[in-house]
């Protein structure tokens, strides 16, 4: 098993302060170097925030685990300068097929509208993604990545937190103005702050088998309800990179996890699915059960929770890592502004406001998918089967089929950072929404809108360019990017997607979300909206 991937072993190094026995304080300490912790450290480090990233282990995720990465996280990774290798290495896909028995019941296309830099979805084993993020962190001077550093105690104060950290050289204490806990669903830090983590546990078990095989199945997501090879349960087949294929089998609650994991029990199931003649190797096997729950608050004093440490969802819909990366996107710029003294501490509270709202949206979607896939009663199962049956014949039933609604960003429509519209607008770009991409030309070269947004506030203007380069609120600057002058709307998609008639102005946050928009350029209105977007 585990034949296609050689797991790296990253070197433990004793830190200077532990060796010298001195107490050091850092702006941010991130705990947990999984995909979310690595992304958090990378975002902060690139913004110039000195960040220590602690991990109790010295390698990447074992097994493929989170394999689907959606457009929005890929856009965030592009902002962080590391999407290209992921997209190159990953398997792009957009078609999903749902079968009921041996019949196709429903088919969907994730990306009906072209004109985005990032693909709709890629499949990439979590270990590949983590290795790319580690490489990016190592190239970022602001990030201090420390393996074999386990946080064993936490104490909080008004202005900082103290962390006792255990290493192969003993235990030492370091201080952080802010701690970001990215230590996963079983988060120790969550226990240390005494946070509640509540929701719904589901009584079902799933077997994941990664198999290596040469097969010419298309790069599509195939999901079966009650297939002939695995009666009365569901199954999933999905392509990953390096000829690795992900197979999921629903097993039911009574299955014995230890027995089911044994290759002699896994192999017959896979053979029944793929056919006796297909040659394959088992790469990795895991049994999981799941829960949908979230932390009571994403902020506990100086400790902020992100990723699975803050919210746990079912795997249907690829909402775990994908939403975690969006937590990071939301938090990074806020920490930077508060640490720089440019924004009030209460900007950090908007992290909880916005991401708890998104987590609830994700939990709702995840719970709904789970109710469809694993019906809780005989009657629920009949409704599910009736839906699948009708979907084969009638279009109306197809949108009811729920084999996992794939992760899309949740707009922060009610966020206190938004300035409500005063003028009428058409289209999807309401305040609180992530800015949709569009093809543009810059100095005659083809490019993408999102390459010009992010990392700082931007004023995107349509029509005659304003005669100022930026608008300021205190030390925070919103830089003008004028459509027609700085970038050219190559295919008219920018104007269409933003309802960008001449005179239109968008104020866009460092995380590429819309903060405000107007039909005129008024420096005072912009300054007020900018201060509001900074939590003032």
């Amino acid at each position: 098993m585990l034949s296609t991937h050689a797991y790296p072993k990253y070197p433990y190094r004793q830190s200077a302060e532990q060796r010298e026995g001195r107490r050091a304080r850092f702006p941010v300490v991130v705990v947990g170097a999984g995909p979310i912790g690595l992304s958090m450290a990378l975002d902060l480090g690139r913004a110039g925030v000195k960040t220590v990233l602690l991990d109790d282990n010295d390698t990447v995720s074992i097994g493929s685990r989170g394999v689907c990465y959606a457009r929005r996280p890929l856009e965030i990774y592009d902002r962080l300068g590391c999407a290209a290798p992921m997209i190159d290495k990953g398997v792009g896909w957009k078609v999903g097929k749902v079968f009921f028995g041996d019949k196709l019941s429903y088919q969907f296309d994730l990306s009906p509208a072209p004109g985005h830099k990032a693909p709709a979805m890629i499949n990439l084993q979590q270990y590949h993604l983590e290795e790319m993020l580690v490489a990016a962190c190592l190239e970022t001077p602001g990030v201090d990545l420390r393996w074999k550093h386990e946080v064993v105690a936490l104490r909080q104060f008004e202005s900082h937190a103290e962390l006792d950290v255990s290493t192969p050289d003993g235990t030492f204490t370091l201080e952080a103005e802010w701690v970001v806990a990215c230590d996963g669903a079983n988060s120790d830090l969550r226990k240390m702050v005494g946070a509640a983590f509540t929701g719904q546990a589901f009584h079902d078990r799933f077997l994941i088998a990664d198999v290596v095989m040469k097969a010419d199945y298309p790069a599509e997501r195939w999901f079966w309800f009650d297939p002939p090879f695995h009666r009365h349960q569901s199954a999933l087949l999905h392509k990953q990179t390096d000829d690795v294929w992900r197979i999921d089998f629903q097993l039911g609650w009574d299955a014995d996890p230890e027995e089911e994991k044994k290759p002699e029990n896994v192999l017959p199931r896979v053979k029944k699915m793929l056919g006796e003649e297909r040659e394959f190797d088992l790469e990795w096997v895991s049994i999981y059960q799941f829960a949908c729950r979230r932390i009571d608050s994403f902020r506990h004093g100086r400790v902020l929770f992100a990723g699975d440490a803050a919210h746990q969802v079912s795997p249907f819909g690829a909402r775990g890592a994908n939403t975690g990366v969006q937590d990071v996107d939301n938090l990074g710029w806020k920490l930077k502004l508060v640490l720089d003294g440019e924004a009030p501490d209460k900007l950090i509270d908007s992290y909880d406001e916005e991401r708890a709202f998104a987590a609830d949206d994700n939990l709702r979607a995840s719970t709904r998918s789970t109710d469809f896939i694993t019906p809780k009663s005989e009657m629920s199962r009949r409704f599910r089967d009736a839906t699948l049956d009708l979907a084969g014949k009638y279009a109306f039933a197809r949108p009811l089929v729920n084999s996992g609604r794939l992760s899309t960003p949740t707009p922060y429509l009610h966020s206190s950072l938004n300035t409500p519209d005063r003028d009428p607008f058409a289209g999807a770009m309401k305040p609180g929404t992530n800015a949709i991409d569009a093809p543009i030309l810059c100095q005659g070269e083809p490019g993408w809108l999102l390459e010009h947004l992010g990392g700082r506030f931007v004023l995107l203007t349509f029509g005659e360019a304003p005669d100022v380069k930026s608008i300021k609120w205190r030390g925070v600057e919103a830089e003008v990017v004028a459509v027609g002058r700085d970038i050219v709307d190559a295919e008219g998609l920018l104007r269409a997607r933003y309802d960008g008639e001449p005179g239109t102005v968008y104020l866009i946050r460092p995380d590429q979300h819309i903060a405000a928009r107007w039909r005129y350029f008024d420096p005072l209105d912009i300054e007020v909206a900018l201060s509001r977007a900074c939590g003032a």
Binding site: R382, A386, F396, A397
Partner: protein, 63 residues
């Protein structure tokens, strides 16, 4: 209340007969599957979640 709970069928006996006839030769299992399909088809025809919610409450004895 948007849901009609006053008589609305022109031929009540004819409707009831059609309903019973449609399942006369079915096992309980088959009839139950058909009832599920019927609910889904009718719900889609109604289309208005407010009406459907009121119908769910009325059928569940919660009104």
């Amino acid at each position: 209340m948007k849901l009609t709970l006053e008589p609305n069928l022109a031929d009540p006996d004819g409707f009831y007969q059609a309903l019973i006839d449609s399942q006369r030769d079915m096992s309980d299992e088959e009839a139950s599957a058909m009832n599920c399909r019927l609910i889904l088809i009718l719900a889609n025809h109604i289309g208005d979640l407010e009406v459907i919610s009121e119908a769910l409450a009325a059928a569940g004895g919660k009104v």
